[in-house]
């Protein structure tokens, strides 16, 4: 039982995973679409959280990596390549680009890094709209016969679960500790021998590769991409908001955020009046979270949990009192 005590999320996590993987035999297509969308958001949010949450490097340019993954898959699929090849190639290209972007921008700290990433994201979008081989601003289509919802569903859910497992594993080994130390005090971390630039580059590469695979699957599922959808600033924005609202730097935070946002999106898309201004809610959420609980839903949960009256063993009470 030691394993369970160390990982209290293991049992509900496994049950949840089993339910998601069994869903295609039980649920309808509409529900599965919503679940696919949620898994897509979980990948984006959890991968972003690796750099933005654990290491505290808030990037507003992640749509660039979604876009690179999506464009690689579409362009290579049109050249006759199988998704088994295009998805890893997209991940590699995205990771390579993340290093290219990270080398200069990781020299910046805090908000300066964040604003530089807005610049990078915008530059990528502007350039993708202006290039010929990307189909310009009108976008590109997948070749016919590449659509298969069921396998795409399994791939996306599998990717989401793999991402969460990877993040959980990284969180509790030395790499996760290094990320955490960078967030708390980058100079202190450096003084203790953490090569902060290298750790940040690695976290950036891992998360951008994961995001690129999700982008590739997105392209296969929707069969059509354009700079206006895939490089959209709003996508970067959603990616950032999910972990922030859920709780940055935690394992469950991005999942909560992704569930909340995919639910919101379904509700909002169903009502035509809200469709154009759904980010009103996003902005309001962001203001409320930043003013009242910068640690998001998870922070709120901890606050409520610690207020609950309950019996404590004397040793724990003593330790808490001392801490």
């Amino acid at each position: 039982m030691g394993l369970l005590r160390r990982h209290p999320a293991l049992v509900p996590g496994l049950l949840f995973a089993a339910a998601l993987l069994l869903a295609p035999t039980l649920a309808e297509r509409g529900t599965l679409n919503d679940l696919w969308n949620m898994a897509f958001f979980v990948v984006l949010a959890a991968a972003w959280n690796l750099l933005g949450g654990f290491a505290g490097q808030v990037s507003l340019g992640y749509s660039a990596f979604v876009g690179i993954g999506a464009y690689t898959t579409v362009l290579l699929a049109n050249a006759g390549w199988s998704p088994w090849v295009t998805l890893p190639v997209g991940a590699l290209l995205s990771a390579a680009f993340s290093v290219l972007v990270g080398l200069p921008t990781f020299r910046l700290r805090g908000p300066y890094f964040t604003i530089a990433t807005i610049g990078v994201g915008e530059a990528v979008r502007v350039i993708a709209s202006g290039l010929d081989f990307t189909g310009g601003s009108s976008g590109v289509r997948m070749p016919p016969g590449t659509f298969d919802f069921e396998s795409n569903y399994y791939a996306m859910v599998g990717l989401a679960l793999a991402t969460l497992a990877l993040v959980a594993w990284l969180q509790q080994n030395a790499f996760g500790l290094a990320l955490e130390s960078i967030r708390q005090d980058i100079d202190g971390a450096e003084a203790l021998g953490v090569n902060s630039t290298r750790i940040k580059l690695e976290a950036h590469a891992i998360s951008s590769a994961l995001v690129a695979v999700a982008g590739g699957l997105y392209a296969i599922n929707f069969q059509y991409i354009s700079p206006g959808t895939i490089f959209d600033f709003r996508l970067s924005l959603t990616i950032v908001l999910m972990p922030i609202v859920g709780g940055m730097g935690t394992l469950a935070g991005p999942v909560i955020g992704a569930m909340l946002f995919s639910y919101l999106q379904i509700k909002v898309l169903a009502s035509p009046t809200l469709r154009d201004s759904y980010q009103f809610i996003y902005g309001g959420l962001l203001i409320v979270v930043m003013l009242f609980e910068p640690r998001g839903v998870m922070g709120l949960w901890e606050r409520l949990w610690s207020r609950l009256p309950r019996r404590r063993t004397p040793a724990i009470a003593e330790a808490r009192g001392a801490g």
Binding site: L108, Y112, T114, I115, E122, Q279, G283, L286, I287, M290
Partner: protein, 301 residues
């Protein structure tokens, strides 16, 4: 040579506008150490306000600025009193929390505009929109020239306020050293509210002027926010002269790059974003920092 003069004059005209849109950001950064991401939303909102006044009452965009700028001064003060005031203060530099909070404000403004005016592209057409003036062998649009004149007037006005009035001196004092200013009896909270109002009013003026030059949607303003940020970084974040120099540098680089290199016009925005990243990385102190660094090297020899 003639092409050079025309491009240089065009850059100068652009620089006036760029300076106006950056001053608001610089005042707020100076007093509060906050990067006002909502700047873009405020510029967009002012563009719509100008458009609405033009549409309803056939008011000229440059005349309507007389109404729009003071109105946005009050909006800025209100924004400070309701939201910004509650941010925990950071003495070292802008906090992530303030950045994300203002980002939220920007989103709310943007979607307020979507809810009120919808997502269609709007533009303002005045009798002089298509007019141009011949000068030194080049053609210069009348709106561009008017924007330049108004920019210079507003910048002179701001400089006078900052140099000559008690309020201006207090703003500069808080910018230089908040604690020392408070010890000398300056109400820093009040000054911050006024500074946020001034910053917002300048965003509004920039927005009104942009609306005479470009078509806009509620998504408008992001690229101009990045440009403004690039300019204040170039100018060294706190210096008001630095902002003017930064605006000149960015305008010249953009115009000359698209006039003399093979970079297509559609990539022009990418130039400023790249410049922003390069400046942030290579010269985080901006031009003043670079100047001091070179100076020190010369002295060392």
């Amino acid at each position: 040579m003639q092409k050079f003069v025309v491009v240089a004059l065009n850059s100068l005209l652009t620089a006036g506008l760029y300076a106006t849109m950056s001053y608001g950001l610089a005042v707020i950064y100076g007093v509060m150490r906050i990067i006002n991401l909502a700047h873009a939303g405020l510029m967009m909102l002012a563009a719509y306000a100008t458009w609405a006044l033009n549409d309803r009452f056939a008011l000229d965009p440059f005349v309507s600025m007389v109404v729009v700028a003071p109105a946005f001064f009050l909006i800025g003060m209100a924004l400070y009193a309701t939201v910004i005031r509650f941010l925990p203060r950071s003495s070292t530099g802008p906090s992530m929390q303030s950045l994300l909070l203002l980002f939220g404000v920007w989103l709310v403004l943007q979607n307020l505009a979507y809810a009120i005016w919808g997502g269609d592209t709007q533009s303002i057409l005045t009798p002089y929109t298509m007019e141009s003036v011949r000068f030194l062998g080049g053609r210069f649009g009348v709106p561009q020239i008017l924007v330049f004149v108004v920019s210079i007037l507003s910048l002179v006005g701001l400089t006078l306020v900052l140099r000559r009035t008690f309020l201006g001196k207090a703003i500069r004092a808080v910018t230089q050293n908040r604690d020392a200013a408070m010890l000398s009896g300056v109400n820093a909270g009040q000054i911050a509210a006024v500074a946020f109002g001034i910053g917002t009013a300048f965003a509004a003026m920039a927005g009104s002027m942009l609306s005479t030059l470009y078509a806009f949607t509620p998504d408008f303003g992001r690229s101009f926010l990045l440009k403004a940020f690039c300019i204040i970084v170039l100018g060294g974040m706190e210096s008001f002269t630095g902002v003017a120099v930064g605006a000149l540098v960015l305008a010249f680089v953009e115009n000359f790059a698209s006039a003399y290199t093979a970079i297509p016009v559609s990539f022009q925005d990418a130039i400023s974003f790249t410049l922003l990243v390069v400046v942030l990385v290579a010269a985080p102190g901006g031009l003043p920092g670079l100047w001091r660094m070179l100076d020190r090297k010369v002295v060392a020899r």
